[in-house]
Symmetry: C2
């Protein structure tokens, strides 16, 4: 069965659009882009379109790739103190002359849409209320939507990046999964992935996951995005794996749309938290 990220995204965005309208929420997202990475531009366009659809304002700040770090820092400080800004995204990757982690950590935890700042990660680690990274939250939403049990299941995550694999491992552990993190140094990857009730691949290695690497009836989530000759290729060899998996995400059309939906969801949560706290 296909885990249809577009369908679920549309449901979420329709619900949030209604909520924003009914409650007259005035939400505003600031997006900072440094340099002119083409893929970043596509991601930002998707975020802008989703915001426009639900009725969230977007202010975009575009800097040339030779911009000084101090300028980015000054802007983040200004946005932190702007009461009309609900959330801030610093689009990754940034050019080498910019320290992404340092800049990102200047964003106030309660304006950190991506959930990457120190305090949010620490709260995730301690299984406290936090802002979950959007892709992580999207994967969990998708599993819940299709009633795929997480508690007590064996989850194998391939990839340990700080955008997906690493925070996802903490989040799924908090939800009582037995979590294995595999990566490029893992020996005999197939022997590990075959144990998975839920296999999530987030490496960016085209078609790394084949049918002989999964347990019959497993759930397979493909987070990887590689661009080969202009075409998006996932980590999972979909046509081959779909016959073995019980549930599988297409790619594109699986996790990607969920990530965008969760950006909106995080913004609405953050806005509501702020108004509830006065």
């Amino acid at each position: 069965m296909i885990l249809d990220g577009k369908l679920v995204r549309d449901e979420i965005l329709n619900d949030l659009k209604e909520k924003i309208k009914d409650n007259n929420y005035r939400i505003k997202l600031a997006i900072i882009l440094v340099g002119d990475d083409e893929v970043s531009k596509i991601y930002i366009r998707n975020k802008e379109n989703a915001c426009k659809f639900v009725g969230i304002d977007v202010e975009k700040f575009v800097f040339s790739s030779d911009t000084k770090q101090s300028e980015i820092e000054k802007l983040i400080d200004k946005l932190n103190n702007d009461e009309f800004i609900t959330g801030i995204i610093l689009q990754s990757p940034v050019p080498n002359n910019i320290d992404f982690d340092k800049c990102c950590n200047l964003i106030l935890p309660n304006k950190d849409v991506d959930g990457f700042t120190e305090n949010n990660i620490y709260n995730l680690y301690l299984n406290r209320d936090t802002i979950l990274p959007c892709t992580v939250k999207g994967i969990i939403y998708l599993l819940n939507y299709y009633k795929i049990p997480i508690d007590g299941s064996n989850v194998v995550i391939v990839g340990r990046g700080n955008i997906v694999g690493h925070p996802l491992s903490l989040a799924l552990l908090n939800l009582n999964a037995t979590v294995t993190v595999a990566h490029s140094k893992t020996k005999d990857l197939a022997s590990i992935t075959k144990n998975a009730d839920i296999l999530i691949s987030a490496t960016g290695t085209p078609h790394l996951i084949k049918d002989n690497m999964i347990k019959k009836g497993a759930t397979v989530i493909d987070v990887g995005v590689s661009r080969v000759n202009g075409e998006i290729i996932g980590d999972v060899d979909f046509l081959n794996v779909k016959n073995e998996a019980r549930y599988i995400t297409p790619n594109p059309g699986g996790v990607g749309p969920m990530t965008v939906a969760m950006i909106i969801d995080n913004l609405v949560c953050m806005y509501e938290r702020r108004i509830n706290n006065g």
Copy 2:
């Protein structure tokens, strides 16, 4: 083969004693105990004895269990600002009226001997230079000492507590192990533990790990401490498991002494970092 924590501890402490003496290091540890937990008193005595042996001063602050949180906070603030204090330990557990995480996080990251504060955990998460929690560091030291490879090995950690299991999983992932975290909600624990080249149990469930749960030739590390009728019982059924394991820690006498050695090691590292930074 027995992984002899006492032997390794003694080597470490002898080396550090010499280093401290030769360089005329003036290291001082502050220990804060709230309440009169008997086990905490034993742990503190072990820490004091090790400090005394190597030539580290200890200042102990003992509070009754009805002490207000604000008093603990005031003391930590004073110790943070005392240039003669190298490191601070807030002994856990604390009484219910004290918020351990909040107090612990008041300790300056560079005085945080236990490595539990937000900034140190975040650095561990990002695989940056940090102060490793002492039991985590002790386990890694023991594996390295006996030349048991971590990189590329399959590690299963049973237990996800914030003192050992959880930070250990981050540290071993940083060292390129393929890491699985199992816990009380794991189904069919034996099927998971049997995959381990290195099995580390940190649950406090007496004799949870039996010989039919391990792979022949595995390394088995027992972190669990239960007290049954005054006797210390580990997580591992040692007499039964030792025939299957290639390397195994006794308990007591394995990880415990390593933890104490790493407290001293952390203190020396922190002191050297401070003098090197002027």
